[in-house]
Symmetry: D2
Subunit: 347 residues, 4 copies
């Protein structure tokens, strides 16, 4: 059994980690920390866990995280980079659900996250936890920076196009029109997240600029091996879970004969968590609700020269906690889908 | 492995059965029937099942249901009573999710369901599939009539009060003010079930009379061994899954010293799927979303003489498919919670 | 033109007052205060008001409220009682949407609201702003304490039964099972009001005791002229606006021949904002969305001895701002429905 | 008073017309037809109209539509073209909310709507009812083909860019990523419109091709006087009302110094129903709920060369019934905003 610690279990990615790990056959939940909620049984805060999780929150100073095999950070940005060095030194693997280890360029990180990076020495070692792209590196990693929810959908949606030896789309003119459910904003109390504000409503936000843009550009350029240009427009959907990314890529004249459906199917052949749907499909976010699966459909409206790729994922699973468990499985030599075989909840 | 057949898998209780049975360790899905969708892979209709269920719908006349160990009917009322006799004769157990075998009195059945009963001879043998009340009978049953979704919540909510040797509440004056999500109406196309009609709205319905009233009265009287009187007012909630029943029972003068919290806790001690919450709790429907658990809280507002019992369940799981699987587990000597250990999905 | 001031316009009752008053033919919006938002145009906070309201928030100390004809308080409890005395002395009428002037008994007020009452001398003069019960007193009032949202629906639902010369129902055993949309909690940021918490969910709350209970009991006793007993159980509905109250009253043996439909119709004959629906109706909250109308339906399930009354209102209109405008119309001799003729928004 | 007839008042655009016309100061509702609902008071079907509309449905053969001043068709495609010729001959003006008179090219109409056009002779005369583009023609029109809901938002969003003397954006590479609430699908009963299917979910649809594409291309080319190329991807949002269109237009190198905010502000200067919001705004659909206003915000993410235009409207008002009333006002010389001054309903 792998002994797991969780730092910061009071947000949505925290409770989602607990949901997945409580049912994971190879995991023992060792400790979960929260200074504010010290002593409170986790299941008091999240009654859905009654009968499944008996742990109570431990104050950080009393949590023997160094006795775990792996520690997940489901914390605000900045916490993992403060604690990771000591844990790694103690032989504990670290998986960060926040942004501390996503971005390789510290100037970019500091600009978008408004804080200095305190563990620059670890950035080179840190592996970006997107298994479909980085599987082998993840297997041997000690430190994982998990992708953001939007970046996961954008990178897996564009990857088959960019991973070619030469460009087949106008790589400087990519567009991602993305839509997320409200759990993406976390459990923080903000007026805009109130149900009376967000329900029966739709809006864009962060059009001027969003933290997930530099992360995604970095990832897409790593996949392509070439510079790319991306416009990213996020929107808020009145639903709880789910991301739907509608991706646009102008097809290059020399690539107009490409069979894109075949290209995507081939690229993701054998992947346990990526489902390339039949031509003509319109994936729905609910078709992945509660599961680690990401579904993709490829369209060419009117047979024209603009490729439209539709991608859905559960932002709390494949976009966060589930991807973390997938990485953990790889790091510990387990079946990649251990504890991740949930059938999506529909309706 | 138990070989399972499903008749009528195109509604919400059908897809929920598939979600549960596909992940059940002791079950092999043998056949699923639909005349209208013959030949279509089930996962084409419900993309959430892609990768989990590979069956296609079979026309009823080609479905070798008699080679199954057990057949579930997730059909409109009237179908199971037509087919059950032949299946039972072939040695196949039958679990009906519709109303055909719920009501012992055929006149009552015919009045509320508007059809003659064609298998009256089986009514005496049929066991009402509420394990917390009928566990031993279910173990040896060949034919199960599963309770309705509302009746499950009402009966398990009132049972501890009525199962006493003598009355402790005014048993002629029980009230059940119940609220259900829209999946309770099934996947039938009706104007009132459109999202533009049902969302951002709340209403009562069927106040004059509802089919679940006679079923519940029959069940409560069986528990009490005495006549009872119940007023049942159902309401429609703009959510997908979940039932919340608010139950009212006037406490008899001689029972005013009763510790009702203790009474409920004791009554459900050891039950795998009934959670009596701590005093003062307000159970939420989402705390059981996707799971077979039913949660109960007991209140006595202002310390007065009216007992208020709050009950939540997922209408598609404990109120339908999950309860069916629980019965199947009992009938085949499996662990009662086999295939039913899902952690609720929250948020 | 009546010159109107608003204290505290940043919550939902405040923006609703602005929506109604901006379109009121006899009203001039004079001033709206907020210390925190001083100088910000109201329409920047609520873009729905762009083109309709050009006012900016004024700091309280600069707001010449004494030059208004009437001032509405859409503030937290406690603000109106601090400012009302000076305004009244300056000849300004006051309408409080909070609880400061609802409850006549200061001990009761102080117990439930956790603060001392600082304007006890005004309590006798203050008129409870429920026009269907107190119309004549409202016409000549200087100071109005507007009813809470739940109390409006409960009082208007029970009133026809209690306003009889002698009891016709068991007045000690009334039950109100009430359901409210999330805007009832206001625009405060609290975890339970987040969309990811409240959507696709249903729960009761405050079963132990709720502030609206003593207010409602006081009002019902005033209507009946006799003591009454009420159990009140509020619930939270995943919708934005609307209250649905399901009221239960046991019919006394001697009143069993009463035609309750006729009794209600007669009682509310001529009322501009109370709609007694035809027998057998199930009023929906959306049928009053955005309007000052309250709809009632009367049922007697199974022809039995328990009367069930269904009441719907828009909690922000008839339950708050609209009722305030209705009172203002009466106080200034305008048509009672001036500015309140909006057709409900459906779907 | 203008005497108005409505053909087909049982759908959402019908009830919305009734909401607006019932409160219109210059309108008398003369007749509303429905064969199926003959004799039923309209307010029985839509209780929101109780107290506002006393009309009952009339069978078409008994409806003296020829005695009206204007007749609205809120019917399925094909009805208006059958009845318009006789009405026009009788001197009655006609406003069609369906597609019969939107598309000038009959081959295109017949391809997308699957029916022959039976009133080809009227197509030249019919005016496309988009006042911001065709105001003068509408004033003198006898026959109006009202734009679709999506096309209204796309055309008003792109118009300022295309109405220039020469191109300033790549007019062959326009993209419209549009999102609509469920009322856009009408009141037809279809599985995909059930609340249990559409709530807590997000998906694209019709990516292969949608009827609103040729209509929009025709309109945009009329505005530009040049050919344009558009990719249109519609999505379904789990909300009742509202359309949000996110429009993308690559800026031509020679236009990079353009002040697009100023260009939009100038273009819509004086328009009563188009609100160009301040730079940096993110319009929300709820900010126009129930009103005829359309709001626009213009962005240039990262200061780059892709213009992003955000447009919101209420699909049932500016996207249908409200736009019809706006046209009627123009046709009869009324104030353009008569009966259309509703403040949006927020929250």
């Amino acid at each position: 059994m792998i002994k797991v610690g969780i730092v910061g279990g009071t947000g949505y990615t925290g409770v989602e980690l607990l949901r997945l790990l409580a049912a994971h056959p190879d995991v023992e939940l060792g400790v979960i920390t929260s200074r504010k909620e010290e002593g409170m049984p986790v299941a008091n805060m999240f009654p859905s866990l009654r009968g499944h999780v008996s742990l109570a929150f431990t104050a950080p100073e009393n949590a023997r995280l160094d006795q775990c095999d792996v520690v997940f950070f489901a914390t605000p940005h900045g916490v993992a980079m403060a604690q990771a060095p000591a844990l790694l030194a103690a032989g504990v693997k670290v998986i960060d659900l926040a942004a501390d280890f996503r971005i390789k360029d510290t100037a970019t990180f500091e600009k978008w996250y408004g804080m200095a990076h305190s563990a620059v020495g670890l950035l080179e070692e840190a592996v970006y936890g997107l298994p479909e792209v980085n599987r082998e590196a993840i297997r041997t990693a000690r430190l994982i920076g998990l992708p953001g929810c939007y970046p996961t959908s954008m990178q897996l949606g564009f990857a088959p196009l960019l991973a070619q030896s030469g460009p087949i789309v106008v790589e400087s003119a990519l567009i991602a029109d993305c839509k997320s459910g409200v759990s993406g904003a976390g459990r923080k109390v903000e007026v805009g997240s109130l149900m009376a504000e967000a329900a029966d409503n739709f809006k864009a936000y962060g059009v001027k600029g969003h933290r997930h843009l530099p992360e995604t550009v970095q990832g897409l350029q790593a996949i392509a091996g070439r510079p790319i240009g991306l416009t990213f427009v996020p929107h808020l959907v009145p639903m709880i879970r789910g991301i739907h990314s509608t991706l646009y890529a102008p097809i290059l004249p020399e690539a107009r004969e490409t069979d894109f459906q075949a290209l995507y199917t081939r690229y993701y052949d054998g992947e346990p968590f990526v489902d390339v749907m039949p031509a003509g499909s319109h994936p729905e976010t609910r078709s992945v609700r509660g599961s680690n699966t990401l579904r993709i459909a490829v369209h060419r409206p009117g047979g024209g020269d603009l490729l439209v790729v539709l991608v859905v994922e559960d932002n709390l699973v494949k976009g966060a906690a589930g991807q973390g468990v997938q990485c953990m499985n790889l790091m510990f030599g387990l079946a990649e889908d251990a504890g991740l075989r949930q059938v999506p909840l529909l309706p």
